[in-house]
């Protein structure tokens, strides 16, 4: 059973990528909808299996490390696999209606979409450093292609910029991997961790970790390496922006987090952890401020991603030389932040796309008075905004609560200020948009209601991010399941 699930999970996206290469956009849509169904069922099945039996190592094709590809199928990984299935299927569904099928180059949307999905799964499940690199490259290249689908000159500029940043990040990461391999002779994360546990860390391994984390931070758009993100996410088609903000930046962060949790305690240092946390905090403040200053709706959402990503990097200081309980709280908080931001940001981008479609302009002022028409999308946008402001009862709130507890518990109270201020700053930019929508002016009298299916998708995602807050205990319980170490090298 598990074998089939794994096979389905890893090979459907690749198979569908190839399949949709052969079709035009309309056919691709039909083919894709079947693939999405398979992916969702398989992801859900895997999640349920892991929730029941606990995680395991999986040697692809029966070949174990160091020869074969080793997959680490644990609670955290399958949770992200499921998140990917939810967000990607929503974006795929949305894109099928939203994207204009008559432009010839849009047919490449589906293959890129599927390559992206397979790359994401590879990263969530990857157990060794080189395969993670391959997964990352697959993600980056298809993401760049998706941004370029925007078609205009600005989109091409943004995607080129994105490509350069992504390549630079990959190079730094690869350099770190090479250094680590030279020192340990192993590429498996678990293998290196075992070696580290038994022997003192060799000189220079700090540099390897620093290189890898820096490269991954660039790909995650951590302040001050965030410049490439807003143009790329702002100009892409809304479903693409949703995919990029909700999932793609999380993949590189996920690798950085895994590396830190495995190696940080031995190779890392307090100063480095604090520095990363500090950059994250700066991202929260600076990203929110810039989001507040934007005139374009989608730019607000894009800069908000810069800010929200900043929170994730608090994982570094909050798990370094703290008690087991505090570290667990921090990890749970960050996991929830990843999930809830993924759901909420996808909802927000999709809803923003609908609103732009409705009023015919991407500017915030164009929203004056649209709340009069009670658009569904505004409501979804608002719900997602509540999660970004980390107000209860959303997943964002539970995440913030856990991080607050972790900050207070570890004695690093200065992060408390960041967490609280971050919530208020995000309220500032979210309410700026609500404010516009409540304005009573004569201008906005025409309002185009987009097709219902476009409106329902962001609503579902926003409701999920809301429900996550109420059910976070259940979601988090899967994350901390016992892990079967039998397959570990």
């Amino acid at each position: 059973m598990t074998l089939w699930l794994m096979a389905g999970l890893l090979f459907t996206p690749l198979a569908w990528a190839v399949l949709t290469l052969l079709t035009d956009f309309r056919w691709g849509r039909w083919v894709t909808s079947f693939g999405i169904l398979v992916q969702v069922l398989v992801s859900l099945g895997l999640w349920l299996t892991i929730a029941r039996d606990g995680g395991f190592y999986y040697g692809l094709g029966g070949w174990d490390a160091p020869l074969g590809i080793e997959l680490r199928v644990d609670g955290l990984a399958v949770t992200f696999v499921l998140l990917t299935a939810v967000v990607a299927s929503a974006c795929g569904w949305h894109a099928g209606v939203y994207i204009d099928p008559d432009k010839a180059w849009h047919r490449y949307f589906w293959p890129l979409f599927w390559f992206l999905w397979s790359g994401l799964n590879a990263v969530w499940l990857g157990g060794d450093l080189f395969n993670l690199y391959v997964g990352l490259e697959l993600i980056s290249l298809s993401a760049v292609g998706l941004v370029a689908l925007g078609g205009k000159a600005a989109a091409l500029r943004a995607s080129l910029r994105y490509l350069l940043a992504a390549l630079l990040g990959s190079l730094a990461y690869l350099l770190g991997v090479a250094l680590l391999y030279g020192q340990f002779g192993s590429l498996s994360i678990a293998g290196v961790a075992t070696l580290l546990a038994d022997n003192p860390a060799p000189a220079g391994s700090g540099l390897a970790l620093a290189l890898m984390v820096t490269g991954l931070s660039l790909k995650t758009a951590l302040f001050p390496l965030h410049q490439w993100l807003p143009p790329a996410h702002g100009i892409a088609k809304s479903p693409v922006s949703a995919l990029l903000s909700a999932l793609v930046v999380k993949a590189s962060f996920y690798i950085a987090a895994r590396l830190w949790l495995e190696f940080g305690a031995t190779i890392g240092s307090f100063a480095a952890a604090q520095l990363v946390g500090l950059l994250g905090s700066a991202a929260v403040v600076w990203g929110s401020w810039l989001a507040f200053r934007q005139q374009q709706l989608k730019q607000v959402v894009a800069y908000s991603s810069v800010a929200q990503i900043g929170y994730l990097f608090l994982l570094f200081p909050l798990t370094y030389s703290v008690s087991e309980a505090v570290s667990l709280q921090a990890q749970q908080g960050i996991t929830l932040q990843v999930i809830s931001h993924g759901l909420a940001k996808a909802a927000m981008f999709l809803a923003a796309g609908n609103l732009i479609l409705s009023v015919g302009s991407g500017r915030i002022e164009a929203l004056a008075g649209v709340s009069r028409f009670l658009p569904f999308s505004l409501f979804s946008f608002g719900l997602a905004g509540v999660s970004l402001m980390s107000l209860p009862p959303t997943g964002g709130f539970t995440a913030k609560w856990l991080l607050l507890q972790a900050s207070l518990g570890s004695g690093q109270w200065w992060w408390v200020a960041v967490l609280l201020a971050g919530g208020l700053l995000s309220a500032a930019y979210v309410f700026r948009i609500y404010r516009a929508s409540f304005l009573e002016r004569p201008e906005t009298d025409r309002f185009y209601h987009p097709p219902r299916s476009l409106e329902v998708i962001p609503l579902i995602l926003a409701l999920l991010s809301l429900g996550l807050g109420l059910a976070s205990e259940q979601v988090l319980s899967v994350m901390a399941l016992p892990f079967e170490e039998a397959g570990a090298p």
Partner: protein, 498 residues
């Protein structure tokens, strides 16, 4: 048995579902929307009555589940929560009736009533919350659901008021969250419990407990409009009259005051708070706010702004009451939670009636309005005398009980505050009454509308009269069981002998 689990959930869900249904209904569905609204309000009132009876007999209503690691979502009905829930349910019904009439033929009604129901659902959640975490959940939901009501008119002024409102309340919320998280770190997840949790506390904890208390009160004080955190309240007066009525009588300011009551009684415990020495400063602050609000009210020319400053003053009676260390004073403070709600909503209904019927907004336009609108002016007079504390109205019961409580507790200075505040209340309310009844009406009202036989629309007329009559009855029948005073005494009895 199942019923005891489901009743609080149902009471919460009625308004929540009403909100969802109303959002889904088309803007033109006037009759259906009104029916849904009133139906839900009636159902809820019924559920609350059943629960009040149950709590009186000692039934435990409650439900809880773990929401996040270490904290639970708890709904629980105790005597104190039923006081607030009852107020919310009664006033929701009356205010809905009033709002239907007030917003007749105005745009965006679907949006308005949707958020109105959400706002009431939040107050219900605040009432039934069983720990600080759950309380905070609904407290923030209240902020979010009242914002669209405050900015409902969509004018620049309304949006500006909305911004001020958000800056105050969201910052207050952040401070409150910090306090709750800190408390959780110090003592774990504490359910609200009669008598509190810190009766025998570790002296080593004193500093952090005092710090947490200050933060809690600061966070809650924003909504309770305690000086100097009251700045948003007079500005929020741009909202439509039913919103101001609800905001002042039950929703926002009361949520803050109710939270402070919860913290003092059910988290710290009166005795522990007194040992920590936090009650006396709070009492001084409340006393200052009482006088400050009244003094500021003296200089107002706009009726609704005057009422806003009067609210600033009146809500602090509740806080002052619970700071009086003794059962009698406490009952006085708690009963004001209901009394102020009823009296203030009467006054706001009247203000709305004057504005809708005659176009009156300023005090100097009110000359002779008593002849044109006798029933409304009667209600206004009842509310005003109630606020001043004239016997036998509700406000008198409050002040009398608090006064005796203060003497019992040996805090004689409180009597002076009460007397001075009553004089100030008289100083700003009596001139209005004089204008209403003893001056000649102008030849033409600023903006007059007529509705057949009654002096104003029936939707506006009856709720105003009902609340005025309740104000009288709450005073006259104070010694009967289930009167606000008896219920407050029940709460105090359970608090002081847990």
């Amino acid at each position: 048995m199942m019923l005891s689990v489901w009743l609080p959930v149902l009471a919460l869900m009625t308004s929540l579902l009403a909100a969802v249904v109303i959002f889904a209904l088309p803007e033109q569905g006037y009759r259906l929307r009104t029916a849904v609204n009133l139906g839900a309000a009636l159902v809820k009132l019924g559920l609350v009555v059943v629960m009040v009876w149950g709590v009186f007999r000692g039934v435990d209503y409650g439900v809880s589940f773990t929401m996040a690691p270490g904290v639970a979502f708890v709904l629980k009905a105790d005597a104190l929560s039923m006081m607030f829930a009852g107020l919310s349910a009664v006033l929701w019904l009356l205010t809905t009736v009033y709002a239907v009439g007030y917003l007749e033929d105005s745009p965006n009604r679907s949006r308005f009533f949707g958020f109105f129901s959400l706002c009431v659902a939040s107050t219900m959640g605040i009432a039934l919350a069983g720990n600080l975490f759950t309380f905070f959940l609904f407290y923030e939901m209240l902020t979010l659901s009242t914002y669209p009501l405050v900015v409902h008119r969509g004018t620049e002024q309304a949006l500006k008021a909305g911004r001020t409102y958000l800056i105050y309340t969201l910052t207050g919320g952040a401070v409150l969250l910090l306090a709750i998280a800190w408390l959780q770190g110090v003592a774990g997840d504490l359910p609200f419990r009669e008598g509190g949790h810190f009766t025998e506390n570790d002296p080593a904890l004193h500093t952090s407990l005092i710090g947490i208390f200050v933060l809690l009160v600061a966070g809650l004080g924003v909504k309770a409009a305690v000086f100097p955190l009251h700045g948003w309240l007079p500005q929020a007066m741009v909202a439509p009259a039913p919103v101001s009525a609800l905001l002042h009588a039950v929703a926002v300011v009361k949520a803050g005051a109710f939270g402070i009551v919860r913290v003092v009684y059910n988290i710290y415990g009166v005795e522990a708070s007194s040992v920590l020495g936090v009650l006396e400063p709070l009492a001084w602050l409340a006393a200052f706010t009482i006088l400050y609000g009244s003094v500021r009210a003296l200089w107002q020319v706009d009726l609704k702004r005057l009422l806003a400053f009067s609210t600033v003053s009146q809500v602090s009676y509740i806080i002052l009451g619970i700071c009086l260390f003794g059962p009698v004073g406490a009952a006085g403070g708690l009963v004001h939670l209901l009394h102020q709600g009823i009296m203030k909503i009467t006054l706001f209904f009247c203000a709305g009636n004057y504005a809708e019927t005659l176009g009156i907004h300023r005090l100097d336009e009110m000359d002779g309005a008593g002849r044109r609108m006798p029933a409304t002016s009667f209600a206004f007079t009842v509310g005003a005398f109630g606020m001043i504390g004239a016997p036998p109205l509700a406000g008198f019961i409050t002040k009398w009980t608090m006064g005796t409580g203060a003497l019992d507790a040996g805090m004689d200075w409180v009597i002076a505050v009460l007397v001075l505040s009553s004089l100030l209340n008289a100083a700003y309310f009596l001139p209005i009454l004089h204008r209403l009844w003893f001056r000649d009406p102008p030849r033409q009202w600023p903006h007059e509308r007529r509705w057949g036989r009654l002096e104003t629309s029936a939707w506006l007329y009856w709720p105003t009269l009902v609340t005025a009559v309740v104000t009288i009855l709450a005073g006259v029948l104070a010694s009967l069981p289930f009167s606000p005073l008896s219920w407050a005494e029940l709460i105090v009895l359970r608090e002081y002998s847990p």
